[in-house]
C-alpha cells in the first residue's frame, strides 16, 4: 500500500533516504479523493544510489551510517513546544554531530522500545535529558575508540566535533561514517565508562537552535494529522449525541444518502458513563468521498436522541450550587495547626469566593485520525500526544493484539492535553473496520467545542486570618470542581490528590494554620486536562487572595511573598496531607524538592527586571504572582492600563523562570510567550457554558481566544542560569499570569476580580 509517511524528512533537506515513490496526479473527476502525496522510506540498508550501507545503532534513539549520516529518532510528539528539536539536539551535542546534517525521524508509538511517549505533563526534557545525553555519549565513545585504534593513539587524546573524530595533537580527523564499520563491531560501553560533557563544552544545550520544522512550516509543507492521506481514503464526519451519557435512539439517513459523494452511514455505539478517554460517544457517522460531502451529509441527517441523565444539566446552576456547597465544611485534605483558633484570635478576616468556567482546548487543528485496516492489522496516522495509549485503545476497540496496531505520529496543530485522549482515533478505527475502507475521521470546530474533554468549572472559597501582630495566621481553602477522575469513575465526586497538588495542597507559605477542604461536584461533561490543569483556577484564587491579604496588612505583595516563604528550606507537605499524598508531578519529593530559595530567587529577579515599585503613568499599574508548577519556579509581573471604556491593555509581561538547565533557550522563551497569551485568553475571553446538557458555544465567535490587538504587547522572559536537573516549561507559564493580571487590574482600577473570565463592565 502506498502510504504517506508523515514528515520523515528534515527541514530544508529532502534527504537522500527519503524518496517520492510516486506522486499521483491529484486532479480528480467528480470529487473523488483517490490519491495523495506518497513518501516511502528506505530505512538504513541502502543509500539513494542503492549502494549498501552499514549502520551503527548503539541505542534506539540514534543511527550513524557508513555514509556519515546521523539520524536521531524523535520519540515524543511535537505540538509547538519544540520537542522534535530539543531532545535530538541533546543527543547531537553529546555526540559532536554536525547539526545541519542531522536527520530527525519521528518514532511510531512503541513504548517498549522508546520509553514513555506520553507527551504530557511538561516532562519530555525532564524525563529524557539524561537518556539523550547518554545516547550521544555512548556513540561518541564507540567512534572515538574506533579512531584511536586506527591511529594507535590513546582515546583520551581524541574528541568529536562536526561529525568527525579529531586527534588534537596531530590535527588528524576522520568522519563518523568511516568509523561505523569498526565501531559497530565493538561492545556497547557501559554507562559507567562514558563521560558526559561538562556544561562549558556544550555547543547546543543552553544555546538557541531554530526548530527543525521551521522551513517546512513557513512554506506550507509540514504534515499535520489533517494532511495525512492514503489511497482510496474516505472521510467520516460524525453527529454525536449532544449530551453526556445520551445515545442514538433512531436515525433517518435518506436525505444524507441522496447527497452526491456520500457513501454510507454508520451508527457508532457509545454514550457510557463514565465516558473514559478511549470510548467514542454515541453517534452516527457519515462516510463520504470528501469532507464537504461528509459535512453536508451530516447536516442532512435526522437523529432522535435518548438524551440520558444530563439532559437538564445547566452549568450556571451548577456554579450556583457549588457556591452554596463551599460555604459548608468539606472533606479535610491538608491540615496544619488549628485554623479555628486562628480565626478566633484574628484581628481581621478576609473571605472570598472565586468562580471559573469550563474551558475548551480549541486547538486550531481539530481532532482527526486516519485508520487503515488490512489483513487483521490496523495502521493509524494521527496528531496524538500519546501514541502508545492510542495503540492500546485501538487494539482494545478492535479486539486485536496491540502488536497488530501501528500508530504513526504526525505533527500536532496544537495539543494542550486534548490530543492525549485517543477517543477520536478509536472512532476512525471502528469506522474503518465497519466500512472496510480507509477512514479519516474529521472533527469540525463545532464538534471540538461541543465534545471536548473540558477543563472543569470550579468554585473556591478562601478564608484568611490576620492576627493581632499583623501576621497571616490562618488559611482555609475550600475547593469544588468535577474531578478528572470522574471521567474514569463516575463515583468520584471530589478533587484527586494530583489535582489538589497543583497549587492547593502544596501551598508553600509559612502560615501557622492551613486547612484545605474539598466538596462534592458531579461531572456532567467529559472532564479532561488543559495546559497546566488545576493550577489555573487554584492559582487564580490563591494569587489574587495573597494580593488582597498584602493590602490588608499594608505590605508590598512581593515583600509579603518573600516573608511568607521564609528561610531557605525544602518543603515536603506529606506530613500534613490527610489520608493522601502530595504527588509532586509524579516525581519523588526528595529528587525534586520544593525549595523556597529557588522561588525567592525568581521573585527577586522578576521584581528587579520589571522595575517593581517604579512610577507608572496614570491608569497603568503592575501586578505580581508567583507559582511553582511542574517542578519549575515562575514569578510574573504584568503591567496593564484600563481606559474609561474599561478596555484592558496589557503592555508588559515579565517572567523570571527557574527550570533548572534550560536546553533550548529560544524555545523556553517561546513557551513563556505563548503561555502568557494562553493565560490571557482564559483570563479575558474564554468560557464554555452548558444549557439543557448541551454546550452553548459553537465556534470561535462564541468560544473566544485572544486575538492580536488585545494580546500582551511585550513579553520578557528572564531565565535563571542553572545547572540543576531540567524541569518543564510548557505549562508553568500559564498559572501565575492570570492572578498577576488580576492584581494589576486591581492596582489600576480598585476592582478585585473574583470570577473568570474578567468582566469589568459588570
Amino acid at each position: 500500500m502506498n502510504i504517506l509517511a508523515p514528515f520523515q524528512k528534515k527541514s530544508k533537506d529532502v534527504s537522500s533516504q527519503v524518496f517520492k515513490a510516486s506522486r499521483r496526479d491529484f486532479i480528480k473527476i467528480g470529487g473523488m479523493l483517490t490519491g495523495g502525496l506518497v513518501l516511502g522510506i528506505n530505512f538504513f540498508s541502502c543509500n539513494e544510489k542503492g549502494k549498501k550501507i552499514s549502520t551503527l545503532a548503539p541505542n534506539v534513539y540514534l543511527r550513524i551510517t557508513s555514509d556519515g549520516e546521523v539520524v536521531i529518532i524523535a520519540h515524543r510528539s511535537e505540538m509547538g513546544q519544540g520537542i522534535r528539536t530539543s531532545l535530538p539536539l541533546i543527543v547531537a551535542d553529546e555526540l559532536g554531530a554536525n547539526w545541519s546534517k542531522v536527520r530527525i525521524i519521528q518514532a511510531e508509538g512503541d513504548e517498549k522500545t522508546y520509553g514513555s511517549q506520553n507527551t504530557d505533563g511538561s516532562f519530555s526534557v525532564r524525563m529524557f535529558y539524561k537518556p539523550m545525553r547518554e545516547a550521544g555519549a555512548i556513540a561518541k565513545l564507540l567512534l572515538i575508540q574506533a579512531a584511536a585504534q586506527k591511529w594507535d593513539v590513546p582515546i583520551t587524546e581524541c574528541d568529536t566535533e562536526n561529525s568527525q573524530v579529531i586527534h588534537k595533537t596531530s590535527n588528524k580527523s576522520i568522519g563518523f561514517g568511516e568509523l561505523v564499520e569498526t565501531a559497530k563491531n565493538s561492545p556497547i560501553p557501559a554507562l559507567k565508562d562514558i563521560k558526559l560533557k561538562d556544561r562549558t563544552q556544550f555547543n547546543m544545550i543552553g544555546h538557541q537552535t531554530p526548530i527543525i520544522d521551521l522551513h517546512d512550516i513557513v512554506s506550507g509543507k509540514a504534515i499535520f494529522g489533517i494532511d495525512a492521506v492514503v489511497e482510496n481514503m474516505k472521510i467520516a464526519v460524525i453527529k454525536r449525541c449532544p449530551t453526556l451519557g445520551g445515545k442514538v435512539k433512531s436515525f433517518d439517513d435518506k436525505k444524507t444518502l441522496s447527497i452526491p459523494g456520500v457513501i454510507k452511514v454508520i451508527p457508532i455505539k457509545g454514550g457510557d458513563i463514565p465516558p473514559t478517554i478511549e470510548k467514542p460517544l454515541s453517534g452516527v457517522a457519515v462516510i463520504a468521498e470528501n469532507t464537504w460531502a461528509a459535512i453536508k451529509g451530516r447536516d442532512a441527517l435526522e437523529v432522535e436522541w435518548d438524551l440520558g441523565p444530563n439532559a437538564q444539566y445547566d452549568s450556571t446552576k451548577q456554579l450556583e450550587e457549588l457556591t452554596q456547597e463551599v460555604q459548608k465544611s468539606g472533606t479535610l485534605r491538608r491540615n496544619r495547626g488549628d485554623f479555628n483558633k486562628a480565626k478566633a484570635g484574628a484581628k481581621q478576616l478576609i473571605e472570598h469566593t472565586y468562580i471559573a468556567p469550563y474551558l475548551a482546548h480549541a486547538t486550531v487543528e481539530p481532532p482527526n485520525a486516519l485508520a487503515v485496516i488490512k489483513n487483521g492489522s490496523c495502521e493509524i496516522w494521527a496528531p496524538t500526544q500519546h501514541p502508545q495509549g492510542a495503540r492500546d485503545a485501538v487494539a482494545s476497540a478492535l479486539g486485536i493484539n496491540a502488536e497488530k496496531v501501528k500508530v504513526n505520529v504526525t505533527l500536532l496543530g496544537g495539543g494542550f492535553g486534548r490530543k492525549s485522549k485517543p477517543d477520536f482515533i478509536v472512532e476512525a478505527a471502528i469506522l474503518a473496520k465497519e466500512s472496510g475502507l480507509p477512514i479519516k475521521v474529521q472533527w469540525t470546530r463545532e464538534d471540538d467545542l461541543h465534545h471536548d474533554f473540558f477543563h472543569a468549572l470550579s468554585v473556591q472559597r478562601i478564608v484568611a486570618t490576620i492576627d493581632q501582630d499583623n501576621k497571616l495566621s490562618g488559611w482555609n481553602h475550600h475547593i469544588a470542581y468535577p474531578s478528572i477522575s470522574a471521567t474514569f469513575d463516575a463515583a468520584v465526586l471530589q478533587a484527586a490528590d494530583g489535582e489538589l497538588g497543583q497549587g492547593a495542597t502544596d501551598f508553600p507559605y509559612n502560615v501557622p494554620s492551613i486547612k484545605v477542604e474539598t466538596h462534592d461536584a458531579k461531572a456532567h461533561l467529559r472532564i479532561g486536562w488543559l495546559r497546566s490543569v488545576r493550577n489555573i483556577p487554584q492559582v487564580f484564587a490563591i494569587g489574587t487572595m495573597l494580593d488582597e491579604i498584602a493590602e490588608a496588612r499594608k505590605m508590598d505583595p512581593i515583600a509579603q511573598a518573600l516573608e511568607l516563604l521564609g528561610d531557605d528550606r525544602s518543603i515536603t507537605f506529606n506530613e500534613e496531607m490527610v489520608n493522601g499524598t502530595y504527588t509532586n508531578y509524579g516525581e519523588n519529593i526528595s529528587d525534586y524538592p520544593w525549595e523556597t530559595a529557588r522561588m525567592k530567587n525568581v521573585i527577586q529577579r522578576v521584581a528587579k527586571e520589571a522595575g517593581w515599585g517604579k512610577k507608572l503613568s496614570s491608569g497603568s499599574a503592575l501586578g505580581f504572582a508567583a507559582h511553582r508548577s511542574f517542578l519549575t519556579y515562575v514569578a510574573c509581573i504584568v503591567e496593564v492600563s484600563v481606559d474609561s471604556n474599561k478596555k484592558i491593555s496589557i503592555h508588559n509581561v515579565h517572567y523570571a523562570v527557574d527550570c533548572g538547565t534550560a536546553v533550548n533557550i529560544d524555545r523556553v522563551k517561546s513557551q513563556f510567550e505563548g503561555g502568557a497569551q494562553f493565560s490571557a485568553s482564559l483570563a479575558l475571553k474564554s468560557e464554555i457554558t452548558v444549557k439543557n446538557g448541551r454546550v452553548v458555544q459553537n465556534n470561535y465567535d462564541g468560544y473566544q481566544i485572544i486575538r492580536m490587538p488585545e494580546s500582551p504587547k511585550q513579553i520578557h522572559v528572564h531565565i535563571i542560569d542553572s545547572e540543576a536537573k531540567p524541569t518543564g516549561v510548557g505549562e508553568p507559564p500559564v498559572p501565575p499570569f492570570t492572578p498577576a493580571l488580576c492584581n494589576a487590574i486591581y492596582a489600576a482600577t480598585g476592582k478585585r476580580i473574583y470570577k473568570l473570565p474578567i468582566d469589568l463592565t459588570s
Binding site: 480528480k28 494532511d227 470546530r445 505563548g674 497569551q677 490571557a680 470561535y700 490587538p709
Partner: protein, 151 residues
Amino acid sequence: MIATKLNINKKTHTVEVDPSTPLLWVLREHLDLVGTKYGCGVASCGACTVLLDETAVRSCSLPISAIGDKAITTIEGLSENGDHPLQQAWEEHDVPQCGYCQAGQIMNAAALLKSKPNPTDEDIDTAMTGNLCRCGTYLRIKAAIKTAASY
C-alpha cells in the same frame, strides 16, 4: 457535475466538483495543496487564508462558484522556494510553535504588505485580527511582518 476553472498559483486547474464546495476543500482534497488549513469553517480563525488577486480571503467560506477568473495564491504559490520576504522573516524570528495557523498568518500578512508596505503596529493589529494563534505567537508574527517590510 459542473467543471469549474480555477487560476491557482499561476496555473489553470479544472475541477469537477459541487460548485458550492468551499475553495479550502478543493485546494486540500482535489488539488493536493494542503498548506491551507481548516480551522473553523466559518471565517473566524484565518487558518485557511489565501489571496484572491491581492486580497486576503477565508477559503473555508468561499464557494468555488464565486471565484470566477480571479487569481488564487496559496502558501505553496507565494514563492518558488519558500523565500518570500515574509517567509524569510518568519524564519529569522523563529515564529511558529505548532505551525498550524502560520500559512494563514503569512498569507494574511502578504495581503497587508501589498496594501501597506510599511505598516504601523496598529495597521498590523487591525489586519491580523482575524487570524487566531492558539500557541500565542502574535508578538513574533508582528516582529516578522515589520522585518519583512524592512527588507
